[in-house]
Amino acid sequence: MKKLLAVLLVMILAFSFAACGGKQTDEGTTVPEKGTIRLATTTSVNDSGLLSYLLPTFEKKTGYKVEVASAGTGIAIGYAKSGDADLLLVHSKKQEEAFINDGFASTERLSFMYNFFVIAGPSDDPAGIAATATAADAFKKIAEAKAPFASRGDNSGTHNKETGIWESAGIDPSKESWYNSLGSGMGDTLTKANELKAYVLTDKATFLSMKDSLTNLMIIKAEADDMKNTYSLLGVNPGAAEFAGKDIKINTEGAQALIDWLLSDEAAALIKEYGVTEYGEQLFYLIEK
């Protein structure tokens, strides 16, 4: 027993040293370290790779360290409401407004960029949605044709968007046999939609990054007005009623610094370039101030 523990301990130490070695190569900045900023965001933001592309520039410039916790819109907002995040980057207007109404926000809803949802589907477009004007019309056609449709079904920002489109189309698909509510993340949903040869509402970045494995699907409908996906920043209010009397530490200063930088021209230039070299097109667009 002792030997086993000893061997395990040695292995862990070895790995820890290896880990330390890895970290040292990342350092070498001249800016003094300033502490950490806890950013809670949704998986889809993190999965697109945008943050790991943007944040190193911010960290190098200001000396702050940004810890990105990503876990689905519901949990991300839950982290912020628990006092375990300094700011939020999310894309679900309804939930953001509820967050503000409950007194948790220190800033207004700072909508600063958007991208487009797209409807992907089988390349032969069995429901004939390519020529429709809006997403709501496309959904109506899918319902008429009873073509298979794959839904996230996980109450994420993307799922809320999809539900909103069904509402504006005046259709309740939840009990239809062609409607598959999968309860999975974006990547998983796309893989399943590919197997089901189903239509699916997805963000463009995730679809493009998985294009090679999605052999049965292509983007059928893109860039209609009702398919905009707006991202907003929200600072967490240290004075929220729920936090009263609790030992809550919100890094308001750091959160503001990150917000200011993300709204700056420098960040804007970086966001505009993102995806251009890898996918040949711009993935995120800025909201003009």
Partner: protein, 226 residues
């Protein structure tokens, strides 16, 4: 075969972050297994030896806790330790420590239950023998440990297996933060969500290799003890 090649490529090249992830995974699994084993084996042996009235109920509760879904364990720990929660002042959210706490909650019942059923029979026999020979308490325990060593190693390894393979609890309380709380399983989940299935599978292969290594070492020791 291609995926094995990809796994090797990852180890050889893109490795600074990978080693950090492996380091965090090992630290977490080691401490959660160690603490759970200590608690679980002591409790399990006590349970195996005792003949108290409520034993049946305790065993049933522990057996139920064996099927505690990881995400529920994560949720309970999150509710307790979030900043607005009762233990919020410890400020443990999104740290390796809290991932270990969540895993202890998950693994201890498993180890306790299995230890209780593994030692119950032998415990009685040894206890009788010891009484006959007039052996002191600690000698009796040493005897019991020697008798059950092989099974206990397997039980601890099972606990380690559950710890290293678990994703629900650690992503809930750890937040899957890069360079800090990202472990093998949450990294695999992330790469799957990103659609990089090859990298995800390569990470899975590396995880299994580490597990194989740990198991081999433990079995080597187990053989020697015989």
């Amino acid at each position: 075969m291609e995926y094995f090649k990809k796994a090797f490529d990852l180890i050889l090249h893109d490795n600074a972050e990978l080693f950090q992830i492996i380091g965090t995974t090992m630290t977490m699994s080691f401490f959660s297994t160690a603490v759970s084993s200590l608690l679980g084996i002591v409790l399990g042996i006590c349970l195996g030896r005792t003949g108290i009235k409520g034993k049946g109920i305790i065993m049933r509760i522990l057996n139920t806790l064996m099927s505690l879904p990881p995400v529920v364990a994560g949720l309970v720990v999150f509710m307790l330790f979030r900043s607005v929660g009762p233990f919020g002042s410890f400020h443990l959210m999104f740290s390796v420590k809290i991932m270990i706490i969540a895993q202890i909650l998950l693994i201890t019942p498993v180890i306790c239950c299995l230890t209780a059923s593994a030692t119950e029979e032998k415990s009685k026999l040894i206890s009788e023998t010891a009484r006959g020979l007039g052996l002191p308490w600690h000698k009796e325990m040493t005897l019991l440990f020697k008798e059950c060593a092989g099974q206990l190693v397997s039980i601890v390894l099972m606990g380690f297996g559950r710890s290293i393979a678990e994703v629900g609890a650690v992503s809930m309380v750890g937040g899957n933060i890069q360079f800090k709380t990202r472990v093998m399983t949450t990294a695999i989940m992330l790469e799957t969500n990103r659609g990089d299935f090859e990298k995800a599978l390569a990470l899975g292969i590396i995880l299994l290799c580490i597990s194989l290594l740990v198991n081999s070492v433990a079995y080597g020791i187990k053989e020697k003890m015989k």
